[in-house]
């Protein structure tokens, strides 16, 4: 078994407690208009072309053992700081068997967390989150039509998984990426709070550099 990764980033400060490394898995079933990691959308390997003309390959296949070994090179500071590894993407649940295999190798030594859109079949979702110490669950929109329009998916899938997350008892936080004119009104806030049903909600400010990587893939940022 291999998994496809487009970035391994050390010392990520926004992805959970303690000192962490975040693994970005390549490929996502959604197409959020504001996605700031467009190279994480396709499941295929790609080439990014930098402004200076340099070509940067994007997408590398790892075995669970090799990836765990690479990540555990920093096990000392991860463990001493109460940190670990966070799986992100792309959509890590799209490579759930791989994520579970890596997590199993990491867990005796360091913490594991996941950042997910929640866009996956319910059984897959439950299997993965049950192995996580912490879950960052995206809540991108509260309205099914808007979710279809902006993200290209069915909101019901996500809401069902959020219900599973709450039932699971796994520590979690709901993350709302605030997008100007899409989901950032007062009324939107009220709707998000209602959907959260008591789970903690973090509102993430819009990243004005979100479109930066699109030209490197020969694409246009539409938002």
């Amino acid at each position: 078994m291999t998994g496809r990764v487009f970035e391994i980033r050390e010392f990520t400060l926004h992805d959970g407690p303690g000192v962490r490394t975040t693994v970005f898995l390549k490929g996502c079933p959604l197409r959020c208009a504001w996605c700031h990691n467009p190279e994480g959308q396709s499941f295929e390997k790609e080439t990014m072309v930098r402004k200076d003309g340099r070509r940067v390959p994007c997408g590398e296949d790892w075995s669970p053992e090799a990836l765990a070994e690479e990540l555990l090179k920093n096990a000392d500071i991860m463990a001493s700081s109460g940190g670990g590894v966070t799986f992100s993407g792309g959509e890590p649940l799209s490579q759930s068997d791989f994520v579970l295999a890596v997590a199993a190798l990491l867990k005796p030594k360091v913490g594991v967390a996941i950042e997910t859109s929640g866009y996956a079949p319910g059984d897959v979702y439950e299997r993965v989150i049950s192995q996580m110490d912490f879950v960052y669950q995206d809540l991108k929109h509260h309205d099914a039509d808007a979710f279809r329009k902006w993200c290209g998916g069915e909101l019901g899938v996500v809401l069902d998984n959020i219900a599973r997350l709450r039932r699971s008892g796994v520590r979690h936080s709901l993350r709302v990426p605030l997008i100007p004119g899409v989901n950032d009104s007062e009324a939107d806030r009220g709707a998000f709070a209602a959907l959260a049903g008591g789970s903690p909600v973090e509102y993430l400010p819009y990243n004005p550099a979100a479109g930066a990587k699109y030209p490197m893939l020969g694409r246009k940022y539409e938002l």
């Binding site: 391994i8 980033r9 050390e10 010392f11 990520t12 400060l13 926004h14 407690p17 303690g18 000192v19 490394t21 090179k73 920093n74 000392d76 500071i77 001493s80 700081s81 940190g83």
Partner: protein
Amino acid sequence: MTERIKSLLDRTFAKEQKKFRRDVDWKPLLDKFIAEGVDDETRARMGLEAMLAAEEPAFMEGETIHFLRTVKQIPDLHSDAEMDARRAAGTAFGEKGVVFNLTADFGPTIAVGLDARLDEIAARLAKAEAEGDAEGVNFLRNADLSVRAVLGLADRYGIEHVPHKGARTLHEALQFLRILHYAMWCEGEYHCGLGRIDQYLFPYYDADIKSGRLTDEAALEELEEFFIACNRDSDLYIGVQQGDNGQSVMLGGVTRDGKNAFNDLSRLCMKACGELKLVDPKINLRVDKTTPLEVYEAGTELTKEGLGFPQYANDDVVIPALQKWGYELEDARDYSVAACWEFLIPGVGMDINNIDAVSFVGSLDAAMRGASAAASYEDVEKAFFGEIQRRADALVKKYAHVEILPGPFVSVISTGCVARARDICKGAKYNNFGIHGTGIAVAVDSLAALKDVVFEKRLVTLSELVKLLDTDFAGRPDVLSAAEAAPKMGNADPRADEIAKRLIAFWGHAFDGKRNDRGGIFRPGTGSAMYYIWHARDVPASPSGRLRGQPLSANYAPSLDVPVKGPISVVRSFTEPDLGPVCNGGPLTIEIHDSAFAMPDGVTKVAQLVKFFVERGGHQMQINTINRETLVDAQKHPDLHRHLIVRVWGWSGYFVELDKEYQDQIIKRVELCA
């Protein structure tokens, strides 16, 4: 911050102090020195007397700690022709030749007062006269008059008690310190450090608190006023760039008898800096493996403000390293930094910690050109080390006979000069010379790349590679790509890190057994000072893929524009070598994106990173919090970013006041945690 401090701070930023300034032409004084053949010691005293006589007491509204420079120029004591003649006769000088990069022993004089020091000088003078010690007599007479000149200006300021008598309160101690520090600059010394203020000022703080004279808030206000004063005249101080003025403070560490020295005053000093957000004084913080995380967190609060300090120094590495170099244990425990990061013992060190530098990138370039027939990678590395040794030996020869110009006043406030009846320029307890090693990461990356490209992938021969370096890899993009893809220092990749270990081990012993004519040793280091800009001009492209004209990294840091996994791997790589033998100083320098502190626990995480560095045996570390977009914008709109502070090489300065070459280098540095 109180309203009074806020007002002083605002007016200092607005440069109100400049309204007191005037120009003085000192040429007649120099002409007199030359015409009358006045000796060096007397010139130094007469220069100080003339300078202080020309100074007018000046007061900024609301201040209680006085002494402000009003005369812009400090007298030149020697003409260029005189200095050139001495050089031609075989004398070497460190930079301008005067005492510099030095921290005096402020504490004892603040305790007893200058009147008592005059008595001491008089008693010693009587002895020198009785012994017929002409040199001693000349020094002591000039020392006496220098002290009187300082007292004269203090009297004209109308300051009471200090500096005649010893300080009784924290406020008096700070006023006294201001006078002594100010007088050093007026005597012509530069890069004058402040040393361990949390140690030598602690008794006054402690007595004030215990007696109820001061609350912590009031003590903070006094410290803040003193710190603001350190920023008023700093544009008149000599440096390569604005901000490079050596006003360093060392906090924490251990006492001379080995007890934990981090105290309430250390904490208060950090708090004052965090509130003021000024470039001076530049805070250094001594830590060791027992330092609790909360001390690192307090330091990181300053990092978060973008001040570029504290710079951390690791007692576990530095103290034993200094001992190995012959420093006594009690002295080693008392270490501070000279101006930037060169470890120095205040009061007893007349070390010239940055007398010169060896360019590793230049050494490698020369070695490759001389070893084009090398049959193996090992041959190239051997030739490289041989070239480093050749350059090290040349520096030993170059600085076989160094003279330092006298400073009678700084001698009085240094340990033992009066007792010895000799100016500090003749030598103190420690008289070592420090040599920087620049471009470590580019040299290591270059060796790793040439090993890969020439001896493993065999894309080119060594002589072909050397030719490509002269043309920026023209026509061979494949070689450039392979060089860029080769292992780099900072990625925890043993293929690069093992080379770094061998290089640093070699460099650490390149001066073993060598002595200068003051009996001192040569201390190799990992700092660069401004040589990271200068040495980059001397070489074409590098085998690492660095193109001609691209700067080197400052100090001990990954090459610019090199992709690294992140700060943990950087720390891992840069703590692999044994850093004791290269403890002249030279910090691991990393840049962190300011968004790192957007989350509430960002401070804790960055603090954990520093703690990790220390636990892994790092010697020294500094962290810049920057945002590339802000820096680029500041180049375009300097008026909007007048307060933007960056760490340059061993000091923090205002970004918009730097030359573009230095600005650009900072923008190119690896920015972690974006």
